[in-house]
Structures are given as C-alpha cells and as structure tokens.
Amino acid sequence: MNELIAWLSDPARWAGSDSIPVRLIEHLQLSGTAVLAALLIALPLGALIGHTGRFTLLAVTIANVGRAMPTLALLVILLPFILRAGLGLGFWPTFVPLVLLGIPPILVNTYVGISQVDADVREAARGVGMSGRQVLFGVELPLAWPAIFAGLRTASVQVIATATLGALVASGGLGRYIIDGIALRENERIIVGAALVALFALTVDRGLALVEERLARRAGQSEGAAGALRPAA
C-alpha cells in the first residue's frame, strides 16, 4: 500500500506524456473516435436492413462471428495489413479493429429495434400517406432508439476494454500501464492501470445505462433489447 502511494505521488504520474491524465485522455479519444466511426457505419446499415427486411442473414452472421472472434486475434490479424498499408504502429492498428468490434452490437440492435416496430404502427404510418423514407425517419428510428442506444452502450464498453490491448501494438491509453507494468515487473503500475481501466469501463457503462433507462422510459418500453447480453472482452 505504501509503495502504491509512493508510486502515485511521483509527479511524473500527473504531468508529462506518461501521466495518468494524458493516458486517460488518449484512451477516451481512441475509444470515442472508434465508437463514433462504428456508429456511422453500423447505424445506416442496420436501419437499411431493418427497414427493408433484406440481408437479415448477413446481420445475424456478422453478430455471430463478432461474438466468437477473440478480440486479441482481431487485433493481430489486421496488424500486418495495416503495417503494409504504411499506417505504422500505434493508433491505426488499434483503431481499425476497435471500429470493427464496435459495429456488430450497433448493427444488430438497430436492425432488431427497427424490425420489432409493431406492424400496425408501420401500416398506420403508411396509411396516413407517409413515404418509406418518412416511415423510417419519423416512426421506425424514433421507436428503435432505445434498442440502438443499448447497442451503442455494449459497443462502447467492448471498445474501451479492447483499447487497453492496443498497448500491445504500441498504442497509447491506459493499457500502457498494464502492459509496461508487466514488462517492467512493476506491480504498482499494473494495479493502477487495471484499476483505472476497470473504473473507466464501469463509469461509462453506468452512465450510458442511466441514459438508456431514461430513453426506454420515454419510449414506453423498458424491456427488450436493453437487457441484451454483450460479449465479454
């Protein structure tokens, strides 16, 4: 415990390139941009699949492979291709797998959320003269929003967890403390890194869960996709 306090009171922990605030911001930036990119890809695709009812097999396959794919494996499988593309170590070899990991939960929840919209509601919208586009944006997406958000939450927690592994391919973020701590056999570094990563993931999860509950209550459907299970990472 004393060693831990001594380690934490080193000024290098609070300022400079390997300080806790810098690593935290790196982690946040990396995960945040990856989730955003995943959302930009998965939301339109999921909406299209849910709205048209086509390519549903594709969505299910993506979900299943996404669940079975070990996160570490994805990271290293893509690495040679990213290096050959000349993007270098660090950011890109972590960012690309993170985006790919973030896509399945958002895609599937969007598709399921939209396809679960009551057929009567959809027909009523058609009946009052709404076009397909208007039905999607005015009816289906608003009703599916709690499910989509649940997918976003799952993706966020998974991406935050996997961003930690990015340290193995020279990325920044809180994973640096864990990976460097193991390499240096420095227990204080490992413990602080692990605690920060765990706290970060739990805080984001709780925060998004609160928003999700509020959304679900407003949409009048507290059950459903909100309770969906995500894969551990």
Partner: protein, 222 residues
C-alpha cells in the same frame, strides 16, 4: 514484419506442430475448467435465487459488474496476488466472466417451467428436490445449455487475452508472433482459437438439440 514475408509459412507450422497442439490442448483445458467451475458456482447461486427471489437483483448485479471489467484489467490486477503465469490467476478471471451468462440463463430456465407443471408434480407427491431434478431441470435444460454455449464461446476468446499474463494457450502463439514480428504463429493462434470457438458453439448446439428433441424447431437462444 518484412514486406516480402508471406503471411503464413507452412514450413514453420510443420516444424512446430507439437507446440501448436500443446497450446491447443492447454486452451481447451483452460476453457473447460473455467466453464465447469463457473457452472457449479452459478448453479448453486441459481438454486439459492430460486428459493430466495430477492437475491436475484444483488447477485446478478455483482456478476454484471465483474462482467463489465475489461478482462485484461482483471488478469493484471490478480497477478500481484496470485502470481504471474499461474493457472489460478487466469482461472479466477475466466470463471468470473462466465457467472453472469450462466446465472441468468439457469434462473430464466427454471423460471420458464409453467406453474401448472410445477403444481402437477407437487400434486403427484414429488418432494421439492425430486420436483427440481425430475421436472424443473429437464424442462430448463434448453436455456441452460444455451447459456453454457455462450459462456464457452466467450471463454475461448478470453483465454487468448490471458497470454498477456503468461497463460493463454493459443494466445501465447498470437503474442509470440506479435513480439517477434513473425506473422505465422499469430495467424495459426488466431485461426485455431476462432475455429475452437465455432466448434464449441456447433457442438453444444447439437447437444442442446439432442437433450431436448421436443424444442428443436425454436431452440432457445440467449
């Protein structure tokens, strides 16, 4: 990683077949221990919840919190306590991640037994233990096996991460390739762990259908 180096050197695989097989067996072992131990714990907890309903919230809440902690953080946090490279370190974390899935599925399996069925069993003179073993558990089996499926597939993936703390079966191949900038072991490890996950998934789906032929058309999915 050189530009001209092939992604997979088949010769290396031939030369290291023994090592690859060892890692695969180790991977399967770590997975089976975690799922088996996780199942025993979850089963005991589920029976407890079945009797005392108000425990459901706190117990699943605790399991969900464990589940949200990134695996690498849990593995790393345990190393100063249980040691680097020890099976115990890997297993404590791996078992923790199976609990939420298994607990939820066993409880919802038991909940899925219709009240009339339960009452009929009691009326036929079954004691509550007999009713549990002969009526409730067989009926809960599809959901329980579905939970075991998801837990096993998830665990296969998590085992690879344990390579970071000196365990990890096929993850060791992945990591050694990464450290030496030699892609072959990495690809072999990644391919085998993905195949292992899919093999467990299909195998357990088959088991689920065999155990409960009556539920085959709409098999429960967690």
């Amino acid at each position: 990683m050189r530009e001209d180096e092939p992604l997979i050197e088949w010769e290396w695989i031939e030369r290291n077949a023994d090592q690859i097989l060892d890692r695969l067996i180790q991977h399967i072992g770590l997975t089976l221990i975690a799922v088996a131990a996780g199942f025993l714990i979850s089963f005991a907890l589920a029976l407890l919840i079945h009797r005392r309903r108000r425990l459901y919230g706190p117990l699943t809440g605790a399991a969900a919190t464990l589940y949200t902690i990134p695996s690498i953080a849990l593995f790393a946090a345990l190393t100063p306590i249980t040691g680097f490279g020890s099976i115990l370190t890997a297993e404590i974390a791996l078992i923790s991640y199976t609990l939420l899935i298994l607990l939820r599925n066993i409880v919802s399996g038991l909940d899925s037994v219709p009240a009339e069925v339960r009452e009929a069993a009691t009326a036929m003179g079954y004691s509550s233990w007999q009713r549990l073993w002969r009526v409730e558990l067989p009926l809960a089996l599809p959901l329980i096996v579905a939970g075991v499926r998801v837990a096993t597939v998830t665990t296969v993936g998590l085992v690879t991460v344990a390579a970071v703390i000196g365990q990890g079966g096929l993850g060791q191949l992945i990591l050694s390739g990464l450290r030496s900038f030699f892609t072959t072991p990495t690809y072999v490890g990644a391919f085998l762990s993905l195949s292992l996950a899919l093999a467990f998934d299909v195998g357990l789906l088959g088991l689920q259908r065999r155990l409960t032929p009556w539920s085959a058309p709409k098999s429960a999915n967690a």
